[in-house]
């Protein structure tokens, strides 16, 4: 069976070809059609694909990558591409186009120093006739040749970052480029000038004058888009702006004279991005024209022809957007990002004027009812279409939506409502609860008959009632500002039980959940979670069993949702005034309540969770609905998060109402399962949006298991558990405990009774943070995460414990077999190496044991269990060998000239083998004899010509139990992968990776290499 490889790397190339989509991910290229994916032959191409163009006859596709280009013949019936030409230029190709109105095989390439190659591909026609037969040999054979029709240069030769080519013939070609100084340069291969100082025209190439030089931006011009019919030119830049330019025709109106100074005049400068604007496209919809821009900030902005921002949307989950493309047939925008994802967004509704941010203002009270200065102050949904409103004069109104047009709907007074100063309005299933000072009222409102029926009105509690919660049918919970709390039951609201809350300022309840008839979970306004258990005795009182302090800072939970309930445990989701959702785990045997997992969301204030995927809340002055799958769904300017609002969801139709400046606003949104499947479906990877710094294989559990589990962590502060199986990477879980970037992680397998397998993950990173998490693989093959602890390491020798230490660089652990204690060896960026003791039974306690100071930033740390030795390598290239308690320094020697970027060690009977790579571009194999401590070194300086950042040792057990030779695999910033036989010192190049900024390599038992850094590549090496 062929071992499948996979690659998550920059998606630079993106091109719509009819209704199909050409995508370049790293050095790979694919054509996505409806329902299928075809890979373009790769052969020896190892540079990243930067762009595609296709001929008007559709059967030729040109791909360019850095300074190489490739021509493919597309056999649409077979659904196959045939590589027919490979070429190389001397400069970076930054644009290409086929010339539509010339022979189909003519095209131009534009290079980064204002040169144009005008080329024609001539097919070897006889061989093309039988080319349908695409056996593997012929598939790659060179068919035909490229001839140079002209080499054209411009008189300006500054370095160009982006070029836009326009024209259907070479004579009409207009070349618009942007340089690093923010200048827009325009020229045409027309009216060549003599280039020689003596006035002689030189053969072979022609030089053409620059027609226009325009100071357009205060920074590099990163993209240019041009629509000739609408006379619109767009430039985007490093300076974060998107600029609109009007292109004026001459008086005869049939062409543009670029030489006239007014041919390009500024229209608007648009600001919407907070980082470099990398790409832009012009879209036509009906008779209108729109512009989409994509930025390094991951946002896509859509502008209309007046330069107004119609939509700003985070499109790539935080990863930079490199490229945009538009399919006019389906009104779909595709975005290509740095994680290799191509994501779709349909703009049809937006361009039709049905924006997602449209709000309907409901009519004010006084427009229909004889009243003055009265307005709706609080609103609640009673059903999907009926809203209850409470006015500032404590009168109750209702309004029905959708029976007619919204604007003509009016509020109707419910005049049998007893008017008193209401502090609470809550509704559920036609029941309306209102509360005030020592008073609770319960009504039933029939949506059908529109009649209000009073169920109860009477005194309860002793102070002003601040909360009313519907716990279950006929079961309610009220609390007041004096800290009284009662469980009420039935339509007569008889007091079922009194609950004594913890006394504090503002003690009332913000969220309540009846986990089971006996278990009640409450959150008060001070951020305290309280667990109450009902006594089985005859008084049936609730007893406070345990509490969790400040799970959302100093504010209470906004909601407590029951996620799962089994006989053993309950899982509860809590949200609050912070950008974190927290999953609580309640053990039903011992009632132990713990935070098991947190999830970061891009909302400052979470108010509700609709499903596992969607949360509602507020950001600054916006109401936001956010989906983990689709990012921001709705963003409504509402003025802030303190206001009265409500939502109602029915059959994916989400209704939202809120009060802003004494007015009631309504919004509806249809949730969809993802982008509708009528278009092209491109799978999304969930790899780290920033550099991945550390990766570990969790190992196979059973030998027949072909899936691997990976634990990875990176600069996006996230630890991910990914299942890798047959070329597919499926994310199983995420851990969000780190507040800064994660530098390094290590794993330790645990013996587990209840699960298939369990591991501890120890991770360290910025802000001196150490996190310990447990991962269990359940019988149903899910991954279950338990956050055990998070520690900020402080310097134990400094009296003031408030001083936070620097970043933690590396960690390794060992376990004492008898006591079960873990020894944590942690390398701190300020040069200190510490040993701490930790046990799984008391996860929040970290006991400091010992420390040494190397006065140098350590980069690598490795614990070798069998000889009980610790290896530490530093930024000045030294390696230290210590015993397990740091009492004796066994060795210290210079391993590399400068920093040791990567290190792996293997112990055979008598020797420690250390393979290391450094900033000095060297790879070294060091053996240390365990008895004599003699050092033997061998250097492999010739392997790489950039810093060596990744290597791994590999020693495979053959089926007969015998071990193979010891091999090392190395990779450097030069992207080459080498394999070294450490017995014979023979080495050879085994491959090439597309991963930028490589951070490491792992080899599994099948010789599958996992290369990580800016992206992930899994590559078979055998």
């Amino acid at each position: 069976m062929e071992i499948k490889s996979s690659l998550f790397s920059d998606a630079f190339g993106l091109h719509v070809k009819n209704n199909d989509l050409l995508i370049g991910v790293g050095n790979q290229a694919f054509l996505y059609t409806k329902g299928s994916r075809i890979e373009l032959p790769q052969r020896t191409r190892n540079k990243k694909v930067h762009g595609f163009v296709h001929s008007s006859s559709d059967d030729l596709v040109l791909l360019y990558s850095e300074n190489e280009f490739y021509i493919f013949l597309y056999h649409s019936e077979e659904g196959q591409f045939q590589l027919v030409y490979e070429g190389e230029t001397k400069d970076w190709i930054n644009a290409a186009t086929f010339l539509e109105n010339e022979e189909k095989t003519r095209f131009v390439l534009h290079m980064a120093h204002s040169t144009v190659l005008y080329l024609q591909w001539i097919s070897n026609s006889s061989s093309l006739q039988d080319s349908v037969d695409l056996d593997s040999e012929k598939k790659y054979s060179q068919r035909g040749d490229c001839i140079v029709l002209e080499l054209a240069c411009c008189t300006d030769y500054s370095m160009l970052y982006y070029t836009c080519l326009h024209g259907s013939t070479y004579d009409q070609l207009v070349i618009m480029s942007g340089n690093a100084f923010g200048e827009l340069l325009i020229w045409r291969p027309q009216f060549a000038i003599a280039r020689d100082d003596d006035g002689n025209e030189v053969s072979g190439s022609k030089t053409y004058p620059l027609l226009l030089r325009l100071q357009a931006h205060n920074g590099v011009i990163l993209s240019i888009a041009y629509n000739a019919a609408k006379q619109l030119l767009i430039t985007t830049s490093d300076d974060r702006s998107v600029k609109f330019w009007r292109v004026a025709n001459t008086e005869t109106k049939d062409y543009v004279d670029w030489k006239t100074p007014n041919s390009v005049s500024p229209m608007f400068s648009c600001f919407g991005h907070t980082a470099r604007v990398m790409c832009s496209i012009v879209m036509e919809y009906g008779n209108d024209i729109y512009v989409a821009s994509g930025g390094e900030d991951s946002y896509m902005c859509i502008w209309n022809s007046s330069g107004e921002l119609l939509l700003k949307r985070r499109q790539q989950f935080g990863a930079p957007i490199w490229q945009l493309a538009y399919n006019p047939t389906t009104s779909t925008i595709y975005s290509g990002g740095s994680t290799g994802n191509v994501l779709t967004y349909n703009v049809k509704a937006l361009l039709e004027g049905k924006t997602n941010n449209q709000l309907t203002q409901l009519c004010p009270l006084d427009s229909f009812i004889e009243t003055k200065n009265e307005f709706i102050g609080n609103v609640q949904f009673l059903s999907h279409t009926t809203i209850i409103g409470l006015s500032n004069r404590n009168r109750l109104f209702f309004i029905n939506l959708f029976t007619d047009s919204l604007e003509s709907q009016n509020w109707q007074l419910l005049d049998n409502f007893p008017s008193y100063k209401c502090t609470v309005l809550e509704t559920k299933n036609e029941i309306i609860a209102t509360c005030g000072y020592q008073r609770v009222t319960l009504h039933r409102f029939s949506v059908k008959s529109q009649q209000l029926e009073q169920l109860f009105d009477g005194p309860r509690l002793k102070g002003t009632i601040r909360s009313f919660h519907f716990l279950a049918t006929d079961l309610y919970l009220v609390s007041d500002d004096l800290g009284n709390c009662e469980l009420l039951k039935g339509n007569d609201l008889h007091v079922e039980a009194e609950i004594s809350l913890v006394h504090c300022r503002e003690p009332w309840i913000t969220a309540a959940l009846l986990v089971s008839p006996k278990i009640l979970l409450l959150s008060n306004r001070n951020g305290l979670i309280m667990l109450f258990i009902r006594n089985t005795g005859h008084n049936q009182e609730f007893t406070l069993i345990s509490q969790l302090k400040h799970i959302h800072g100093n504010m209470g939970s906004t909601f407590l949702n029951l996620v799962t309930l089994t006989s053993k445990e309950a899982c509860i989701l809590s949200g609050g005034h912070e950008p974190l959702l927290k999953y609580l785990r309640l053990n039903l045997n011992d009632y132990k309540l713990t935070i098991s997992l947190r999830k970061c969301v891009p909302l400052a204030w979470i108010e509700a969770s609709l499903s596992d995927d969607i949360v509602l809340g507020f950001n600054d002055n916006h109401f936001v609905a956010w989906s983990q799958e689709q990012d921001v769904l709705i963003q409504l300017q509402c003025g802030g998060g303190h206001r009265c609002w409500d939502y109602h969801l029915l059959d994916k139709e989400l209704h939202i109402i809120f009060v802003k400046q004494k007015q009631v606003f309504f919004h509806h949104y249809r949730l969809c399962d993802k982008e509708s499947s009528q278009g092209i479906s491109i799978p999304r990877n969930r790899w780290h949006t920033r550099s991945c710094n550390s990766l570990r294989l969790l190992g196979q559990i059973v030998s027949t298991d072909s899936a691997h589990f990976l634990a990875s962590a990176g600069d996006d502060n996230v630890i991910k558990i990914t299942k890798y199986f047959d070329g597919n990477a499926i994310q199983c879980a995420e851990v969000h405990t780190h507040i800064s970037s994660v530098r390094h992680l290590t794993i330790y397998p645990l013996k587990s009774k209840n699960y298939l397998a369990s591991w501890l993950i120890f991770s360290v990173g910025g802000r001196a943070q150490l996190c310990i998490n447990q991962i269990d693989r359940t019988q149903s093959n899910d991954c279950r995460i338990t956050e055990l602890s998070s520690h900020t390491l402080r310097n134990p020798t400094v009296a003031d414990n408030g001083v936070v230490e620097a970043r933690l660089m590396a960690i390794d652990v060992s376990r004492d077999a008898s006591s079960g204690y873990f020894m944590l060896y942690i390398a701190n960026a300020d040069g200190k190496i510490t040993i701490h003791r930790w046990q799984i039974e008391k996860p929040s306690t970290l006991e400091f044991l010992h420390q040494i100071d190397l006065h140098r930033c350590p980069l690598q740390l490795r614990w070798l269990p069998d000889p009980s030795l610790l290896l530490i390598a530093t930024t000045n290239g030294e390696i230290y060998v210590y015993d397990n308690e740091f009492r004796t320094k066994m060795l210290q020697f210079q391993l590399h000239e400068t920093g040791v970027n990567t290190l792996d060690a293997y112990v055979d009977r008598d020797n420690i083998h250390i393979l290391s790579g450094g900033d000095d571009e060297n790879v070294k194999h060091t053996t240390i004899n365990l008895y004599s401590m003699d050092i033997n070194q061998k250097a492999f300086a010739a392997l790489h010509n950039a810093q060596v950042n990744a290597l791994a040792l590999y020693c495979h057990s053959k089926p007969d139990g015998e071990k193979t030779d010891l091999f090392g695999f190395t990779c450097s910033m030069d992207k080459q992968i080498y394999r070294i036989n450490l017995q014979t010192s023979e080495y050879f190049r085994v491959g090439y990776t597309c991963i930028d900024d490589i951070k490491g390599i792992l080899i599994d038992e099948n010789q599958l290499a996992y290369l990580y850094g800016s992206g992930l590549q899994v590559l078979p090496l055998s």
């Binding site: 080329l119 490093d238 802000r767 810093q947 910033m973």
Partner: protein, 306 residues
Amino acid sequence: MGKTSKDKRDVYYRLAKEEGWRARSAFKLMHIDDAFKIFSGVKRVVDLCAAPGSWSQVLSRKLYDTCETDEEKANVKIIAVDLQAMAPIRGVIQLQGDITKESTAEAIIEHFGEGVEQKAQLVVCDGAPDVTGVHEMDEYMQHQLLVSALSIATFVLEPGGSFVAKIFKGNDTTLLDSQMRTFFKHFEYYKPLSSRPSSIEHFVVCRDFFLPPGYIPQVINPARNDIADQARKTGSATNRRLVPFIAHGDLTGVVDGDEPLVDCTNPSKEDIAYAYDAIMNDKEYPQEFKDLLNDIFVEELANAKS
């Protein structure tokens, strides 16, 4: 809390603030000097891509401020070149211009004059093109800038002079090694302690400048396909061979005007053998290039279809 760790993270940033340097990169030049003594005995320096001016500051403090007499000070000549103007620095003459342009080279030369004894003893360049976030493109553009800086250095350096420039060391630097060795007897890559360990930033430190016999300095516009013609302008045979090589590493000799400029990617064995023989038998080719090419050709010959 966040602030403490941020300040602590970069010791050079803090030091630069304390000592009044315009950027932390000042330490990089000082560290290079510590390692290579590039300032010793130096009076005449060109700082290319100088803004915001931290390297000019170092030059001013180390070379100008240390002079005891006005006469000595008059002998110190520090010329800072950048596209944008910067705040004045004691003893530094500022020039505004693009280092990829011939006019800039001419303006610098004017300040030094023709005589060997008046030429610069050191050319430094800490310039980096605006970073796009696209790694390969950034490396490429940096390489282009370095070639421009090198070509200016060939004009203004006295024999035995030094050249220090920033480089992003990624994929493609073997070629650059040879390009530098064309003009300098000693050539090294150096990463100062103050350069962040995680970055691919390095510095080329080239010492003992010499002009290859017959080579006439000229401004090279890197990566232009008209490079061969440009090389012809000087009328020097050496230039014809070396200029294309310096600009884009083309060792296959001068490209003739009428020849197709697109490389044939599947050359036959005979083609490779021919090119190999042509280079190896050429006495004017420096030996180190031949050594370098030998391996490449042997591999290519092995791979080529006969």
